[in-house]
């Protein structure tokens, strides 16, 4: 039978560093998934996973035995991922200022056009969706991703984002409203 997470945390705090490896192995896939959903980038998600477990280890003494390790590390990962996306946004702002790059854009257009019709369409939808998600505030976006793609309850979202349940609910609500508005062009007419 699998050793319980709480038992492992206890062992780590008692000086068994290697035991933490079990927790890392056990929860990496979940952490990677949410990190990828928030950052939208594979390499960034890998980095978030490492950082989350690193921070988790550093803060392990603040972990309370009445909570679940998986929820706790998940929350740390969501925050690392949010930091990562805001950092990328700052970088992007500078890049736009420094270099407008018509060449890259042309290449992308050509690449799109070369694909078969169906790929083109689904890619267009995908990029519209990504753009629409980009118009949300980080809290709205994360609340929505957790709700829509990670199947988290309002209470869980509130706990992960450290906001009141009603604020979490409102964030999801606003996100859905904004998304429906931006994605209206994709709507199949009845």
């Amino acid at each position: 039978m699998e050793v319980n997470d709480h038992v492992i945390v206890r062992k780590v705090l008692d000086g068994d560093k290697e035991a933490y490896g079990t927790l890392v192995a056990r929860h990496s896939p979940t952490v990677f998934r949410v990190a990828f959903r928030i950052t939208g980038d594979e390499a960034d998600a890998d980095e978030v996973v490492q950082e989350a477990f690193l921070r988790g280890y550093q803060r392990l003494q603040t972990f309370e035995s009445r909570s679940e390790f998986r929820t706790w590390i998940y929350r740390i990962a969501v925050n690392c991922a949010l930091n990562m996306t805001s950092k990328r946004k700052v970088e992007a702002t500078y890049q736009i200022g420094e270099e407008t790059d018509p060449v890259t854009q042309q290449v992308q257009v050509a690449d799109h056009a070369a694909g078969p019709e169906r790929t083109l369409l689904s890619r267009e939808i995908q990029s519209l969706q990504t753009a629409a998600l980009g118009t949300l505030t980080p809290t709205e976006r994360t609340a929505f991703l957790l709700r829509h793609m990670e199947d988290r309850s309002t209470a869980e979202i509130a706990s992960v984002l450290e906001i009141a349940p009603n604020a979490a609910k409102q964030a999801v609500f606003r996100a859905v409203q904004k998304l429906r508005r931006s994605l209206a062009p994709l709507r199949v007419n009845p």
Binding site: V12, L13, D14, G15, K17, E18, Y20, G21, V24, A25, R26, H27, S28, P29, F32, R33, F36, R37, G40, E42, E47, V49, Q50, E51, F53, L54, R55, Y57, Q58, R59, L60, Q61, T62, N83, K87, V90, E91, Y94, I125, Q126, Q129, R147, H148, M149, S153, T154, K169, V172, F173, V176, Q177, L179, R180, L183, L186, R187, V188
Partner: protein, 258 residues
């Protein structure tokens, strides 16, 4: 019962459990609401999660190998003071103090290791890399936090001014320690930015009557907080590059057997 609001429909869509039985009943009875619900469901159903790239079965083990070299061993409760700096509030003064003792050394080590040739023992490099990675993460946090404060100052509202001031005092203490641990020659750019940051933090912390909008505008102009924000962002991305390079080196060397 009244028609269902959009909010109630959204609740119903995501969590039947969280939605009331009354809502379900109403949806069965009311065509208008049923139509709104169908439209909502079709819109939301069209938003498909992008597929998450596969990770191998060994992924967790790889993550562990990548970080384990940087982690100190927890000492059993009786004698834990040894590495207390990692514990609890990473931003307590004790944390900052110990971290900054390492900063100068780690930056120095980093520079040395770039110049070293590959015949150097992997263990030593990894030990440096591990220590440096932790220090960089800590320094990165400090810069993040400073960045948030500076952004906050630019967009301060009367309701947030008091908390900004408290935050500034907090960051100031940590900043002084970092600043003191760095020689001008270790990293002149970082040292200069921390100096500039300190001057701003002192100004913000020492407004006896609190911050007014007028005072903020004055500060922004006189102390060039825009420029400082820019410097901090550049440093932040540089620190991140160091972390990345550090990871890359560790990975190439076959990683952390500590």
């Amino acid at each position: 019962m009244n028609h269902l609001s959009e909010e109630q429909l959204i609740d119903h869509y995501y969590g039947k459990a969280e939605s009331s039985a009354a809502a379900s009943k109403h949806l069965q009875a009311c065509d208008d609401c049923a139509r709104s619900y169908a439209s909502l469901a079709s819109d939301l159903g069209a938003i498909k999660p992008p597929s998450v790239p596969e990770r191998s079965a060994a992924y967790g083990e790889e993550v562990w190998q990548a970080i384990r070299g940087t982690l100190p061993v927890y000492e059993p409760v009786k004698a834990k003071s040894h590495w207390n700096w990692l514990v609890l509030k990473p931003w307590s003064l004790a944390a900052a103090a110990t971290a900054c003792l390492l900063i100068a050394a780690a930056f120095f080590a980093g520079r040395q290791w770039e110049h070293r040739n590959s015949s150097i023992a992997t263990h030593a490099v990894n030990a440096d890399a591990g220590k440096q990675r932790v220090v960089l993460v800590v320094l990165g946090d400090h810069l993040d936090r400073s960045e948030r404060l500076l952004v906050g100052l630019e967009h301060a509202e009367p309701s947030t001014e008091a908390s900004l001031q408290a935050e500034a005092r907090d960051i100031l203490s940590a900043n002084r320690l970092y600043r003191a641990s760095l020689n001008q020659t270790d990293d002149p750019v970082l040292a200069a930015a921390l100096d500039h940051l300190e001057r701003v933090l002192v100004e913000v912390s020492n407004q006896p009557a609190g911050l007014s909008q007028t005072k903020l505008v004055e500060l922004q102009k006189e102390m060039n907080t825009d420029g400082l924000l820019f410097e901090v962002r550049i440093l932040r991305s540089r620190v991140q590059e160091d972390v990345d390079r550090n990871n890359a080196v560790a990975a190439k060397k076959g990683v952390s057997i500590l």
